[in-house]
């Protein structure tokens, strides 16, 4: 009985375990569409995550900057209170002492003058100081030093149009309230300057010229100076690049876009060049120069076959000597170096592949996948016009960098890569010779010597106009770079 029952099981098992039935037509297309949807949603989730991280980063950076600025204000507040008291006492004491000390001077009998303090006026070397015993003279090498504030003295302390810092003015400065920040106005003086005057505790024995010598280098200090001299900088940079592209065109079939996004892959390339920077003395700097950069993309879907008309594909070099490749940029023209034929593929997702060239065509079904990979590269000379803004001016400066560049096509190559071997097989047709790109980046600079600095700049380039004149898509390359360089300031 059991044997008979087993027999019916065996009947069905033997007949149906390896049974095959052709699935309905369109089944693969339906699966493929679902896969594209999943991929799209995954991509969108990825973008959202990156955007969230970027927002978080910007928020943290903004918070840090706000905290840093707030901390500076908090730090100096107690000092202001303390020094204000000290100023009161010192000013009273010095008032008496100074009157005695300067009694023999030309201006000793003069009443204290009100010294309006204005921003961004220079204290310069005075030639009249020799005739005025009460004037502080600055060494000649201190000419044109900006201090971030100025003192308009009375006519008695001014001669030949040059401004002279008198002893009375120093006293006045000591009595003026300290600025809570380094920005001065007509009512305050920078903290460092103020501290200097107070700390010196001027009395009748102080040597004014000595004081001037002490003051001069301080005036050069960045922490005191609000404005720096105009300066030029030259440097060199190299950068590894992560290069890919954005493809789009009005009316393009989404499945085709997705298809090329699938078979085309990013490429790791490089860039390098020299740059010239000019700063007019504030936080802004303009940069230009000339860079060489290589952009491009890889293509994974490469078919190798024996001859046109063949419907069997295989691995390259295994008697399959002709290859076919499809790409979103434009037609690849073969220059034949060991590969007898190079064709483009016309393809629709989910359908058969049509191999075409100028002389013949054949219909072939998808088969084995070649082990070849195609690399499509474009070389440019880039002439940038960038603006840098110094966000943080510390031991390590932080810069925001943006601008546009003109890119001149100087090279165009298509290579077949088979493991460690590489063959130059042709070029891409109809590429534009001039393209324009935008750059966005953040820079970090560190001075390793007085005039030499190292720089590190993560940046992003995007080509505004399509680099291809023909083709089924508008092809906009972009690249993430990580530039490192050395700069010399003069």
């Amino acid at each position: 009985m059991e044997k008979e029952k087993k027999h019916i099981d065996n009947l069905f098992s033997e007949q149906l375990s390896n049974y095959e039935a052709a699935p309905p037509s369109g089944s693969w297309s339906r699966i493929e569409n679902t896969l594209w949807e999943h991929r799209y949603h995954a991509f969108r989730r990825k973008v959202m995550r990156i955007a969230a991280v970027a927002i978080l980063f910007v928020g943290l950076a903004g918070g840090y900057l706000y905290y840093t600025i707030s901390q500076n204000v908090t730090d100096i507040s107690p000092a202001i209170a303390e020094q204000t008291n000290e100023v009161s006492t010192s000013a009273e004491l010095k008032s008496t002492n100074l009157t005695n000390t300067l009694s023999s001077g030309k201006n000793s009998s003069k009443e204290p003058v009100s010294y309006p303090i204005e921003e961004k006026t220079k204290i310069t070397e005075t030639t009249a100081s020799t005739a005025d015993n009460n004037a502080i003279t600055f060494p000649p090498d201190n000419a044109d030093v900006e201090t971030g504030f100025s003192i308009n003295t009375s006519s008695t302390a001014q001669e030949g149009g040059n401004e002279v810092l008198t002893f009375e003015s120093m006293e006045s400065i000591a009595a003026v309230p300290v600025s809570p920040t380094e920005n001065t106005n007509s009512k305050t003086v920078p903290k460092a300057i103020h501290s200097l005057f107070v700390a010196k505790k001027l009395n009748e024995k102080d040597n004014l010229n000595q004081f001037a010598n002490d003051f001069a280098p301080l005036a050069k200090d960045k922490s005191i100076s609000q404005e720096q001299e105009a300066e030029w900088m030259i440097g060199g940079q190299i950068a590894p690049l992560y290069s890919y592209r954005n493809i789009s065109r009005e009316g393009a079939v989404p499945a085709n876009t997705a298809w090329y996004n699938e078979i085309e892959t990013p490429l790791y390339t490089y860039a390098g060049g020299v740059n010239v920077n000019y700063s007019s003395g504030n936080r802004f700097r303009i940069r230009t120069g000339i860079y060489y950069l290589k952009l491009g993309q890889g293509i994974d879907d490469v078919r190798a076959y024996t001859a046109m008309g063949a419907d069997v594909y295989g691995d390259y070099k295994n008697s399959y000597t002709e290859i076919a490749v499809s790409n979103s940029v434009g037609k690849i023209t073969s220059k034949s170096s060991g590969i007898s034929e190079l064709s483009n593929l016309e393809t629709t997702p989910g359908s058969t592949l049509r191999v075409t060239n100028e002389v013949s065509s054949s219909l072939a079904t998808a088969g084995d996948i070649s082990n070849l990979k195609i690399e499509q590269t474009y070389e440019y000379l880039e002439v940038p016009l960038l603006v840098e803004y110094k966000i943080i001016d510390k031991t390590i400066d932080m810069l925001f960098i943006t601008g546009i560049s003109a890119n001149f096509l100087v090279g165009n190559q298509v290579s077949a890569v088979d493991g460690a071997e590489r063959f130059d097989i042709g070029t891409t047709e109809n590429l534009n010779t001039i393209n324009y790109s935008g750059t966005l980046g953040v820079g970090f600079a560190y001075n390793i010597a007085q005039q030499v600095s190292l720089s590190l700049e993560p940046n992003f380039r995007y080509y505004f106009n399509p680099i291809n004149a023909t083709g089924i898509f508008d092809h906009h390359p972009y690249a993430f770079g990580f530039s490192t360089g050395v700069n010399y300031t003069f």
């Binding site: 008979e4 019916i8 009947l11 149906l16 052709a22 896969l35 994974d300 084995d368 996948i369």
Partner: protein
């Protein structure tokens, strides 16, 4: 085999061309599996679609140990069973329907095509169909079937027996109608 490994690796990398190649390699066999578990071609096509999506999304779970075809077949079967597990697809089959048959089976295999056998299975009541497929073709034990379908082992056995009876009766009908003069020994207890 080497080519299959390359295709699998391509699928692991998410390459669409490899996924298409994998589909073309196994779609016919897997569609047959789906047909056995489904009541119609549309349902089978849905299961095939869901099964391949699941395969592509979970292919990293295949560790290149054992038969890859066996792995994707299990995925397909599970997809078909998931449909059954949905509340709206719970079919109640009374154990009281079960009757121990004493049918005798002979060399009908020589006269019945695979397509006819497939059609017979498809026409079985849903749970009989599942139990028969799992036991007779996939090789599951009653204990495993009970876990998979959330039924008792006794119910699984009774469903299997009932499925066999129905199939034998169907085979008998075909045999008698098509092969008169070659009378097998049937002891039919009741007809469906």
């Amino acid at each position: 085999m080497e080519n299959l490994e390359k295709i699998i690796k391509g699928c692991l990398a998410g390459k669409r061309i490899s996924q298409e190649a994998l589909y073309k390699e196994f779609s016919s066999k897997m569609y047959a599996v789906c047909l056995r578990y489904s009541g119609s071609e549309d349902e089978a096509a849905d299961n095939l679609h869901d099964g391949f999506i699941k395969i592509f999304q979970n292919i990293k779970q295949y560790k290149f140990k054992g038969s890859f075809e066996g792995w994707i077949r299990r995925v397909m079967v599970n997809v078909c069973l998931e449909k059954f597990r949905k509340p709206e697809n719970k079919f109640t089959v009374s154990s009281s329907e079960w009757t121990e048959t004493d049918a005798v089976f002979n060399n009908v295999a020589d006269f019945v095509s695979a397509n006819e056998l497939m059609e017979m299975i498809q026409k079985l009541p849903p749970r009989y169909k599942l139990v028969f497929n799992l036991y007779a073709i996939e090789g599951y034990t009653h204990q495993e079937i009970a876990v998979q379908l959330d039924i008792t082992e006794g119910t699984s056995k009774s469903n299997l027996s009932r499925a066999r009876t129905i199939l034998q009766e169907k085979l008998n009908e075909i045999y008698f109608s098509d092969k008169e003069g070659h009378l097998p020994v049937w002891k039919k207890k009741k007809s469906i």
